[in-house]
Structures are given as C-alpha cells and as structure tokens.
Point group: D2
Chain length 300, copies 4
C-alpha cells in the first residue's frame, strides 16, 4: 500500500505533476523539493526547501525522468533555484528507503552507492519502455505530418528495429495506411513482422530496401544510416531518428546529400506529458507497494 | 486521352503544381495564367498574362480549388497581381470546353451560364471527397496531438457524422488505439459503425454520449454542438470541428464555458498539398478523357 | 413498448427461438403456431394449433426468415405437421396488425394485400443486411479454411461487390492477413476501397485481376463469373459464391474447367443461428415499438 | 546452395510434399524412402526402399514433422509398409550430414548420438513456431465457428498465453471483431497486450476474468484451467485448448461441469498442410545453405 508512505520528490517537469496527483490519491505523504512555483497541490503534499531537507522518515526518494545532472544538480520546471540531493540527506533515510529515477548516470550511481541505498532506474524497465513507445510513436506521426507534403496513408515507410519502440512505431504507421517495411536481424523478429502483416527485411540488406521509401524511422541505437546507406537513399526521403543521442544517422552526411534527417529525442515528455507522467506514476506505485511487501516479507 | 489537349489554368496554390506536373506528363498543352513567379515548369507549359488571354483553342479551363471569389477575381499563390477570367475570354472557348473548379459559388455559376459553358465542381464528387478525407483525417490527428497532453491511444474519441469524412476520421483514430464512438442518424449507418468495430450512438442522443469524451471531432455540416450539448460536456474535452464554415459548433459559447474548440478548415491543402494535388490531377485527367470520349461519341 | 403486445408466431428455425426469448423478456404475449415439439418456453408463450387460430386480438404476426412457401405453407423446425396462415385468420386481426417476415414472395404479398394488412420484409432492411453480413463473412471464412490446404493469411483474395455483404467480407479477410482485392463499379466505391486499405479494381476489368487469386468471393447478385471470366482464372482458385440463388457463377462451366466453386446460401442461419436470431429480435422489437408509437401518434 | 545436395527423406505427410517440391526446384537430389504410393514427383527425386538405403553420399536426412516413433519406426502417409532409419544406415553418411526433424524424442536423440550426427529439431525454432502459429490460429477460428451458434464478432474471448502462439491467436480473434482479453504473467507482456489494443490480466487473477467469457483459448503448456478455475466459469463457455498434450485443461472435470472443452493438437498439419509444408521447406532450405556455408567456412 502506498497509503501513509513518506515520499520525497526532487524536481521534475510536467510528468511529475501526474505522479504527485496519483500518489496523493493513493494516500501518500509527499514532501516536494524544488516545486516552489507550483500551487496546484493539496495539503497532503508539503513544499519544502532542499537545503533543510530532513529525510529521516522517508520511504522513497523520487527523482525526475532525467535523473540528476553530472554535477549533482536536479532540474525542476517548478523552481528558479537549483535543487540538490546531498549525500548527507540521503544517508539520513531509513535503510529500506529506495531511490527511484527515470534514468541513471555515474553521478547518481555513485551517490546511492555511497549512501548504501538501492537505486531503481524505471525507464529501463520493459513495461515502462513499452508504454512510453505509444507517445513516442504518436510524436513520430506528428513530426512526419509536419515535415511532409503528402499523406502517411499510401506512403512507403521503413522502420528500423523491432524492439519496444519499433514494434509500436510499425503498428502505428501501418494503422494509418502506410506500406510498412521493418528491418530487423533475428529470424524470430523477421517471422513476427511477417505474421503481423508488414514486409520484413534483414538489416544487413538495408541498401536494397531503403532506396525508394518515403519515410525512414530509426529506432536502433546503433550506427545504421551510415554514409554507405545514406548514399543509396532518395533525397526525397524523410528520416526521423528516434534512437537516443547521438541517434543512428550520420546527420552531417545526410545534410550534405540534401536528405532531411531529424533527431527526435524525448517525445513522450513533449507530446503527451500527462500520459508519460501517468505511466511513471502507475509503475512507481506498483513498485512502492512491492517494496512494502518485501519489507514485510509478503512477496508473492 | 489528355495528350495534345489545350488546357488553361488560372491561379491556385501548391496543389495546382501537382496538377501541372501530372497533365504535362500526360502530354497536355498548358497555358498558365497567374503563375508568373513560378519557374519549375518545362516548355510544354507556357506562362501567360490573363489580360491578353486567348482561349479560342482551349479544351478545358481549370480554376483553383477555391474557385473564383465573389468579386470575380482568382487567388494565386504564384503571382502578386490579381487574376481574372472574363466573360469575353470564356466565350471565346470552343463550345465543348468545360470549366473545372474545386468549389463553385454564385459568381462562377453565373459566369459559366452566361458563356454557356459546362461547369464541373470536382470537390463535390464522392470519390474526390473520399480521397480528400484521408489528408483531412491526418490533419485532425496532427491537431489533436498538438492540442492535448495525453495520447490518442486509450483516449475516448467521439466522431460526429458517418459520411465521406466521418468514416475516415473514425477509422484513423480507431487505428491509433482510441476508443471510438460515432454519432449518426440512419439505422444502416449505426449498423455499419457497429460492424466496423466502433460504438454507435444516435445523434438525437448526443448528451448521453459526449459528457465524458476526451476528444470530439465534428464532421456534420449542421448545428450539432449547440449550447445545450456543450453544457453537458466536460471542459477538458477538445473539440475539433471539421465541418466547413461556420462549422457545427457554437464557438462563442464554448469559449465562455472554457471548452477548447477549434475550427479546422482546408486541412488537405495544409497538411498534404502534394497528395491533395494528386487527387485532383488524377480525377481531372479521368474527366478530361471522358470529356473527349463523349465528344467522340465513345462513351462506354 | 413491446410489453403486453399480443404476437402470433408461425413456424421458423433456431433463429426464432432467440426472437421468442427476446420478446418474452420484453413482456410480450406470444401465441406460437407450429412449435408443438418445443418445450423450452415459459408461460408467457402459449403453443397453439394453427387450425383453430384466433387472431382477433393480435398486434403482430411473425413469419419465419424464409416467409411462406409458394403453396402457402410455412416451414417449422419445431413441428412435424405443416403450418399455415389462412386468409380468414389474417382478416380477423385488428386493422393495425402488421405482418413481419424475413423475405416476401408473391404468395405472401397477395395474402396480405387480400387481408389489407401491412407486410414488412425485414431482411430487406439495410441495417439487418449489414448485421447479417457478419455471420455471412464468418461462414465464408469457415468454408475457405475447410476447402483450402493453405492459410488465408498471405493468400490473395478477390471480393466482388462493395455492398452490405462485400464490405464486411473484405474487412474480415483483410483482418486475417489476406491481400484483398475488391471489384466494384462506382467511382466512390473504388475510392473507399482504397481508403480502407485494399486494392480496388473495376468489375469491367475482372479478367486482369482474377487470373492469379487464390480465393474469389462473389457477393454481386448478377452473372459475374461467366465463361469468359472463368476461362482466365487459375484452376487452383477457390470460388465461394455468396450471392443468393442461382449465384453469380456459371457453376457448370466451372466444373468443366476443374475449378472448385461453391454456392453458399443462408450462412447466418447455419453458422450463427443465435446471433442471426438476435439480430431479428432486436429489429423486430424496435419495429413493434415504432408501430406502437405511430398508432399513438407519437412518432418522432 | 541447395543445388546438387543429396537429401534423403524418410516418410511424412502432406507437408512433406511441399518440402519435396521446394527442394526439387532448388535443385536438390532427393532420395525418398517410404513414398512408394506417391506418383507426383519428377525425375530429380527417386523413390527407394529403406531396407536397402545407401546413405554414403547423403548431405542431409529429413524426418517427418513427428520425427520417429519411440520404437524407431517412421510414419508415412505414402506407404503401407513401415519405414525405418537404422543406425547402420545413418553411420554410413558423411560426417557433415545432419538430421532434420520436426520434433525429437529420446529414441531419435540416442540414435543420432550413437551415429555421431547432429540432430536439428526445427519445430523448436522461434521463427518456425511463429509461422506455424498462423495456421494454428486459423484452425482455432474454424473450430470456434463450428462449435458455437453465435459470431466471433462481438463475443468475449480470453486468450491464455502471450507466447509465439498466443500473440497470433489474440491478433486473429481481435481482427474478427471479438473483445479480446489476454492473460499473461510478465509485466512487459501485460504492457504489450495493452499497447496492441487488447485488455490484459495477470494469470494469477484468472478467476476474476474468465467467469463471463464466451470463448477461452489456452496456449499455455501448463495446468491452467484447473478445477478451481473451471468452477468459476460459465457452462456456456467454449474452451479450445491449443497447448500440446495433455493440454492445460482438466478435461474430465470440465465434462462433469458440462463445459465444452476441446483439445486441438496439430492444427497446422490439419487446416493448412501446404502452408505448413512451405514453412518447413523454407527454413530447411535456409538451414541447408548455412550448413553448406559453415562447411566451407563462409559463415557470416
Ligand atoms: N525519441 C524518443 O522519444 C524515444 C522514446 C523511447 C525510446 N527511445 C530510444 O529508442 C531506442 C530504442 O529503444 P527501445 O526501447 O525500442 O530499445 P529496444 O527494445 O532495446 O530495441 C532496440 C532494437 O534494436 C535492435 N538492434 C540493436 N542493434 C542492432 C543492430 N546493429 N542491427 C539490427 N538491429 C539492432 C535490437 O534487436 P535485437 O533484439 O536483435 O538485439 C532491438 O530490437 C533507444 O535508443 C531509446 O533510448 C527514444
Ligand atoms: N476541414 C476540412 O479540411 C474538411 C475536409 C473535407 C470536408 N470538410 C467538410 O466536412 C463536412 C462533411 O463532409 P463530408 O464529405 O463528410 O460530407 P457528407 O459525406 O455529406 O457527410 C455528412 C454527414 O453528416 C450527416 N448529417 C447531416 N446532417 C445531420 C444531422 N442533422 N444529424 C445527423 N447527421 C447529419 C449526414 O448523414 P445522413 O447520411 O444521415 O444525411 C452525413 O453522413 C462538410 O462540411 C465538408 O465541407 C472539411
Ligand atoms: N450467402 C449468404 O449467406 C448471404 C447472406 C447475405 C446476403 N446474401 C446475398 O448476397 C448478395 C449481396 O447482398 P448485399 O446485401 O451485399 O447486397 P447489396 O448491398 O445490394 O450489394 C450488392 C452489390 O453488388 C453490386 N452490383 C450489383 N450489380 C453489379 C454489377 N453488374 N457489376 C458490379 N457490381 C454490381 C452493387 O453495386 P452498386 O452499388 O454499384 O449497384 C452492390 O454494391 C445478395 O444476393 C444477397 O441475397 C447471401
Ligand atoms: N494446437 C496446435 O496445433 C499447436 C500449434 C502450435 C503450438 N502448440 C502448442 O501451444 C503451446 C504454446 O506454444 P508456443 O509456441 O506459443 O510457446 P511459447 O512461445 O513458449 O509460449 C508459451 C507461453 O506460455 C506462458 N506460460 C508458461 N507457463 C505459464 C504459467 N504457469 N503461467 C502463465 N504463463 C505461462 C509463457 O510465458 P512466459 O514468457 O512468462 O514464460 C509463454 O508466453 C505449446 O504447448 C505448443 O506445443 C499447439
């Protein structure tokens, strides 16, 4: 049960508001650090200053989707001042307290290690990545509509990657009436692509399949659209690269060739912050509950 | 055959360029009036000045999608000067010459009547309206993504109207994972809506069905979202009104209630001018051919 | 309201049982003629003998889906004796009494005319035909699976006709992963077929499109698969003809050519009598209600 | 390349004929053991007697989908006599020769071990299982249509399992218009089920979700529909159990309760032997080629 839990939230963006709302409804006691400019919270959430944070009673610490910066500060849309989670503050927490973040970096890993607290990066989870793939795909749809003068319907769309994001992107463009071609490398992925109703091709064979597509959407976090491949593509092709920075495209070379290629990171937070926040909130509240059950030795 | 036909085009926007391209490839002889700032046409198309237009040899006159203005002038994206089709010029055309326009108004109807030339408003055609419903629906998708902070997937969407546009809009939002409710009034429409996999409701019963939708898309060219109905809707609902001006929504009252309601006319020309132009070009070229066959008494 | 209405049912098959159930729940008073072998009805339905039928109190007469035979008798699955609706009996009904049947023939039309009672053939209605197209399409699926040694998925399927049945058949086979080609003749149908995601062709051009299909499903009640067309088809093609007798196929010639062609009438009653009965029951009960409202002058 | 390869086929059913056809077209030299009643093969395939089999030249041995029996014999639809693959014969093969089978059992494993030859059970492969899931799902559709009196459209269908078969079964019934509920146990499966558009539930929570379904299709090879669960289900529910023998249902108890439950093994070979054969043939020919490349040290 989330009820009665003490949770300390440090910074964040619009998505965090959904988390606040969700946890409040679930009866959690929230202490908000770096939310001074926010006034839409009710009494179960108390805005506090991070400098004087007392976490001795805290069951869970929530960091933003972006985690903490390399220099240790935390971004917050709801405050002008910088927010920080100090090692001292974290050490004050009870031993069972866990630190939840969207993504983790070295700084955060070290901090939690030093404080001997468990760190849980929730964007790594398969279920979160799958739910996030939905706003990502809708963001890709929006970008394609904005950047073409023809319809997605009847266009030829190549999707690179049949992972958590690629599956959803393929479904979405196919649903809109595009002819969808999906590039993957495992034989079971190629079989599933065909079963689902798309055309499959092996990524080792991209040159033969990308030369006449209208739109190419990359979801593979690897150098896919290299010089060799880009050279074989039509200059009319629009490339949307969803893989996280630096993406899978040689953007400089694409520009030289006159190919429009767009790196589009962070779409869930841009096109559907509310949904993205709800995804986090739902998983967080499940994890908090499991946390609890484990503490009580009730794990099923 | 379009080959060898003399066609006079007066003004237009990006869509007309597709028509030019298509007709050129089909071997037509084009005279372009009001295209002075355009330089992407080859020799089979000759830019001319409308003041000195000689249409005595012309098999067909093409007007823009918007037709002519009430004051008789014609809009052109490719010229700074105003363009006109005078009665005198039209009278010079051979008797078999037809006038093709997107939409017609009184001024145009009278002009053609006075010149005794057949007027063909092609946007009225069912096939054109159905093909145009595709970019319209994609435009609606773009607007919804831009104007919400949640995903279309899993949202509740009401579509009003099961005509040429409504069918496509419903298919599109359903394909994206929305729960689609469609309002119509004929029993056969209600049956088809259910068969296709959506939930149907009778438009006389809107109040019971619109009060909890996230998004309401109107395609009915009638006063549908009146004060009475708007009052029953949640202020969180986004209204996209696709019906042509003035739309089916009491926009003033919606604003008073704090409901976001957007009139979104002319989407095909905005989101997919190339596709929209190709739709026109394809139909025009079929019609020119039929025209020909009729003239030759070869109609099948 | 169906409540309290006196309804006389004459004969029928499994579908009629759903009608009985539905009307009983709605509070109607049923007199059942030709149901002597049925024992699953409760007290609100009374089994009677047609020879001594007294219809003087009857608000509606319900005939089976098949109506009455040319010789005036009525088929019943629930009786060994023949059932009849005599002119005398029908004349006894109050003037407002209507006769509902699935389909009508000359004999029935004359009978009602002679008795001066309104005859309503409900299978003619668009909504009923659309709802019935669902079990029809599922029946076609079953027949195709039974009569081929390959999957529907990835096969090439031609559907002839884009009417109430054809639309549903096309949707169903496309949903199962077939490559669907639909033949129609109106330009708006051809446009809608493409918008929905299938390939369209004009029925005047069948020869070019049927020569390599795996499966051809006809829904057009006209001579479509004539000698000329059959000759161009592969002998491996399976033909399922859904058009009502005699179908649209030259079956004799198909057999000579070694083409497997199956006339498949009455699928709803065969594969889903319960659903087919519910469709009838739902519409009947709407019609009875309207009937009532009209009588009371309450028609909206 | 399959060209020029010597392949010995031992027994099989209709599926093997597709394999024969495919390999012949690919230029393989086939020796057929246990095909004496078959006469549709051309000269590149030679029917031989297994008693005098000389496999000294053989690059690959192909066994049927069912492999060999526990007593060492091999089933063949095309012969009245029993067929056998003796240890002596197998030992004669060159060291690089591999043995391909659909499924393997102890007898076969021991045989290959004794002969020191690699055994490749191809039905275990993910790609083969995914392709086979298509005829399996179509078989399930056929069985459901045959065993219900209502349509799949609008019915409530529970699918247990989100593996290679369950994904396809869910897609297929959803495509036909059913309301699909899928039971799985991993959080990423539950997320993907929702993203795809179905309702998900945890298999630990079956009782709450199976009590009002029309159809329950099990694909989980474990005891799922136990007494406890069956007791909570409606006696109108149809159970189709696709899991391999003995299935996941307590069939005896289901019968006691009056629940119709059908174990439906081997559907691909029953409803679409040709497709099932082509799946095997395609993979076999890929594997033979890889085999070759490995032998030549050309593996990529
Ligand atoms: N732009 C946004 O808003 C946004 C949103 C969400 C995610 N992302 C990013 O999108 C990317 C994909 O995320 P995901 O969740 O879909 O990851 P994922 O589930 O791991 O999928 C990645 C896919 O790439 C394939 N792959 C990797 N290397 C490959 C190679 N060299 N050749 C062929 N295929 C290869 C993998 O195939 P195998 O299974 O064969 O290894 C896998 O299917 C990540 O960079 C993620 O950060 C961006
Ligand atoms: N925004 C854009 O970019 C864009 C693009 C294309 C079209 N449009 C506009 O969209 C509108 C619809 O176009 P369309 O091509 O879909 O027209 P349509 O095919 O004629 O469809 C209109 C539908 O509205 C229904 N309807 C009319 N009055 C009604 C009422 N009082 N109650 C319930 N239903 C009613 C009709 O139903 P019945 O069949 O029962 O009469 C019909 O199904 C038009 O105003 C058109 O100009 C806008
Ligand atoms: N087997 C069964 O179990 C079963 C079940 C239901 C119905 N049926 C039968 O199926 C048939 C179709 O029923 P339905 O309800 O779909 O009828 P429908 O709605 O009238 O559709 C018939 C279609 O055929 C087209 N058509 C007619 N003549 C044509 C021609 N010469 N060339 C091209 N197209 C032509 C019509 O096109 P236009 O719009 O251009 O005229 C229309 O789209 C009927 O015979 C019906 O009795 C059988
Ligand atoms: N009837 C036919 O014609 C036919 C055709 C093909 C296959 N089959 C049979 O169908 C069955 C499934 O085949 P498949 O290829 O789909 O296998 P699969 O890919 O391994 O899928 C099995 C699924 O069952 C789940 N599962 C296993 N134990 C579970 C449990 N206790 N609770 C909840 N989920 C559980 C697994 O989930 P996790 O991923 O969470 O482990 C997995 O998703 C096999 O028995 C196979 O032989 C029959």
């Amino acid at each position: 049960m989330t009820e009665g839990k003490h949770i300390a939230m440090f910074g964040g963006d619009a998505r965090q508001l959904e988390v606040v709302r969700f946890l409040q409804e679930a009866g959690a006691q929230l202490s908000l650090y770096g939310f001074d400019q926010l006034d839409t919270v009710d009494t179960s959430a108390v805005k506090k200053s991070w400098q004087t944070a007392d976490l001795s009673n805290t069951d869970a610490v929530l960091l933003p989707v972006s985690g903490i910066q390399l220099n240790g500060t935390i971004e917050s849309m709801f405050s002008n001042e910088r927010v920080e989670l100090s090692l001292e503050a974290l050490k004050q927490t009870p031993a069972h307290c866990k630190v939840f973040t969207g993504i983790a970096n070295d700084t955060l890993v070290k901090l939690c290690h030093a404080a001997n607290r468990t760190l849980i990066p929730i964007l790594d989870r398969d279920d979160v990545a799958i739910f996030n793939s939905i706003p990502t795909a809708e963001g890709a749809v929006m970008m394609v509509i904005q950047n073409t003068d023809y319809t997605i319907h009847s266009s030829k769309v190549a999707v690179l990657g049949w992972g958590r994001t690629g599956i959803t992107v393929a479904r979405t463009f196919h649903a809109l009436g595009a002819n969808v071609f999906v590039g993957a490398r495992s034989s079971s992925h190629l079989a599933r692509i065909e079963e689902t109703g798309y055309t499959s091709f092996h990524t080792s064979d991209m040159q033969a399949h990308l030369n006449d597509v209208n739109i190419c959407i990359n979801t593979i976090p690897d150098q896919m659209l290299t010089k060799d491949i880009l050279q074989t593509m039509s200059t009319n092709t629009l490339i949307i690269d969803l893989a996280s920075k630096p993406g899978g495209t040689d953007f400089k070379y694409a520009e030289e060739l006159g190919l429009k290629a767009i790196l589009a990171p962070g779409l869930p937070g841009i096109v559907a912050p509310k949904t993205a926040g709800q995804i986090l909130a739902k998983i967080l509240s499940q994890l908090l509950q499991q946390n609890d059950e484990e503490a009580k030795g009730e794990v099923s």
